[in-house]
C-alpha cells in the first residue's frame, strides 16, 4: 500500500482513524474499507442503519440561465422528468460522442438556473474537463466544483427516523418531508433521499467544517460506521452499477443494463444518442453461484463450452450467504432467468444460475 501521508483525505479522516478503521488507497484517497467486521457493517444497514463517508465523491453546482439546456444535452436521461418538483433527483449516465459512459451521476433539480451534480471520485478529472468543455458551448452556464463540501450517507430501514431523533429542528423537519429521490436544504446542509445500498436513507451534503460534528453525533447515537467493503456488497445486492467495473467508456448504458436510464423517445438531442440507435450486442445478467467459491470481476462465463461474456462485478452476498455477480454477456435470447451457465474460476468451471436482479427485493 502506498504511503497514507501522500493520499487525499476527507474531512472525516481523523474520525476513521479514531474508530480504528482499516484505511486503504482508494483511487488516491485514504478511505476506510472496514471498521470492524465488514459483514456486521453490511447487516447493520439491512436491519437498522449505517453511515458512510463518501466525501471523496464530487459535488458540483450548475448555475445560469442555460442550466437546463446544458443538462438536456449532457445527460442521457431527460432532465425534464424532474423539473416540476424542486429538489427532485434523477440518475443518469453522461456519454461521450460514441455513446460510451464517461460517468454515472445523480442530478438534483433546484431551479431552472440551479442544479446540483454528484459524480464519482475516480472520474473527477475527466468529468470536470468534459463538463467545462461542454459548458463553454453555452452562453450562460457555470460549473462550480464544491470541494469544500463533505458527503455522509446514512442508510437503512431506520435511517430516517434515527436522523429525526438525532437532529431535532430543521434537519428533522426536512427529513420528515422528503419523498424518495428528492432532496432539499436545511440551512446550508443539503439532504437527498437517495443512496447506493438498496435501502431507504439519505445522502447528506454538508460544509466540511461541520462534517465531524455531524458524524460524531451519528456515532454517539449508535449509527454503525460502515466502510467501502460493506458499501460494495450492499450496492451489488441491490443490483446497482459501479463505474469502472460495470460501466466504462467502451460500453454504452444499453450494454450495461441501464437502458431504463436513457430517454430515447423524444426529439431531444443528447451527446451519444446517435450511437445508441444501434441495438446493443450485449446484455447484463445477474448470476448466483451454485457451487463453492466467489464470483469476481473478469471471470469468463461459458454456455455450452463457449465463452459468452464475463463478470463485471462479483462478491459474496452476506444477506443471501452465497456469491452473486453482474455479468455482461452476448445478447443471446436463449439465456434467461433460470438458465445454468458455467463460470471459469481459476482452473475450475462452476455452475452459476441466471437470475433477475436486484438480488434482494425491498
Amino acid at each position: 500500500m502506498s504511503d497514507i501521508s501522500s493520499l487525499l483525505k476527507t474531512p472525516l479522516y481523523n474520525q476513521h482513524v479514531a474508530l480504528n478503521a482499516r484505511i486503504v488507497d482508494f483511487g488516491g484517497w485514504a478511505l476506510p474499507v472496514n471498521y470492524s467486521s465488514q459483514v456486521d457493517e453490511h447487516h447493520a444497514v439491512r436491519k437498522s442503519a449505517g453511515m458512510f463517508d463518501v466525501s471523496h465523491m464530487t459535488v458540483s453546482d450548475i448555475t445560469g440561465s442555460d442550466t437546463l439546456p446544458f443538462l438536456s444535452k449532457l445527460l442521457a436521461n431527460d432532465i425534464q422528468k424532474i423539473t416540476s418538483i424542486e429538489g427532485k433527483a434523477l440518475y443518469s449516465c453522461m456519454l461521450n460522442e460514441g455513446g460510451g459512459v464517461i460517468d454515472d451521476l445523480i442530478v438534483y433539480y433546484l431551479g431552472d438556473s440551479y442544479c446540483r451534480l454528484v459524480t464519482n471520485a475516480g472520474t473527477n478529472e475527466k468529468d470536470m474537463a468534459w463538463l467545462q468543455k461542454q459548458a463553454a458551448l453555452f452562453t450562460d452556464v457555470t460549473v462550480t466544483e464544491k470541494p469544500e463540501l463533505a458527503l455522509i450517507a446514512v442508510q437503512g430501514p431506520t435511517a430516517l427516523q434515527d436522523l429525526q431523533k438525532i437532529f431535532p429542528g430543521q434537519i428533522s423537519e426536512l427529513v420528515s418531508q422528503l419523498k424518495r429521490f428528492q432532496g432539499g436544504f436545511a440551512d446550508d446542509t443539503f439532504i437527498g433521499r437517495t443512496g447506493y445500498t438498496g435501502e431507504d436513507g439519505v445522502e447528506i451534503i454538508i460544509p466540511a467544517d461541520q462534517a465531524s460534528d455531524m458524524w460524531n453525533r451519528l456515532h454517539e447515537a449508535g449509527i454503525q460506521a460502515c466502510g467501502l467493503g460493506a458499501r460494495d456488497t450492499l450496492r451489488l445486492e441491490a443490483g446497482m452499477a459501479l463505474y469502472g467495473s460495470d460501466l466504462d467508456e467502451n460500453h454504452t448504458p444499453l450494454d450495461s443494463g441501464l437502458s431504463w436510464s436513457v430517454a430515447m423517445k423524444d426529439d431531444r438531442n443528447f451527446i451519444g444518442k446517435q450511437a445508441l440507435s444501434v441495438p446493443s450486442k450485449y446484455r447484463m445478467i445477474g448470476l448466483v453461484l451454485e457451487g463453492k467459491g466467489v464470483l469476481r470481476g473478469h471471470q469468463p462465463i461459458l454456455h455450452n463450452d463457449i465463452i459468452i461474456g464475463e463478470i463485471t462485478s462479483g462478491t459474496y452476498s452476506p444477506t443471501l450467504s452465497q456469491s452473486i455477480a453482474l455479468a455482461r454477456i452476448n445478447n443471446d435470447p436463449e439465456i434467461e432467468a433460470g438458465t445454468l451457465l458455467k463460470v471459469q474460476i481459476r482452473k475450475n468451471q462452476i455452475d452459476a444460475r441466471v437470475v433477475n436482479y436486484p438480488f434482494i427485493k425491498k
Binding site: N34, G229, K292, G293, R296, T315, Y316
Partner: protein, 123 residues
C-alpha cells in the same frame, strides 16, 4: 518435538520431522476479513516454494496463498470446505490449511521465529 516458524507472507509452519503444517497468521486473517471460501490444493500435488498453493476468498477479495516450502501436499484441512470461518476463528489452530511432506532437510534460516515475525508487524 515441533517448532513453529513464520514467513513475511504472513504464513506459519509447524515442522515435525519431515511433515510441515501450514496456515496463515492471525494478522493475515484480520487483514483479509471474513473468509468465505478456501480453495485447497489436491493431495499429491507438488508444493513449489513461492508458487500459489491455495486461494483464500474473503468477502473483500481473493488472495493467493504462496507455498512457503518445497514438498508434496499429503493432507488438506477438509473442515475448511464447509466451515472456512475456522481460519478467522482459529488461524493458528483448527484453521490450518495443509500438510506438506518435505524431501530436503528443513532450513530454518529461511524463516522467522514468532518473536521476529511479531516485531516485523510493527514496522
Amino acid at each position: 518435538m515441533s517448532m513453529t516458524y513464520y514467513t513475511s507472507d504472513h504464513e506459519w509452519l509447524i515442522v515435525e520431522g519431515d511433515l510441515v503444517t501450514i496456515g496463515i497468521t492471525d494478522h493475515a486473517q484480520e487483514a483479509l476479513g471474513e473468509i468465505v471460501f478456501v480453495e485447497s490444493p489436491e493431495v499429491g500435488q507438488t508444493s513449489q516454494k513461492g508458487e500459489t498453493i491455495a486461494v483464500v476468498e474473503s468477502v473483500k477479495a481473493a488472495s493467493d496463498i504462496y507455498a512457503p516450502i518445497n514438498g508434496e501436499v499429503v493432507e488438506t484441512n477438509s473442515n475448511l470446505d464447509d466451515t472456512p470461518e475456522l481460519v478467522n476463528e482459529s488461524p493458528e489452530g483448527d484453521g490450518w490449511f495443509m500438510k506438506i511432506r518435505i524431501q530436503e532437510p528443513f532450513d530454518a534460516s529461511d524463516y522467522m521465529s514468532r518473536e521476529t515475525y511479531l516485531e516485523s508487524l510493527d514496522d
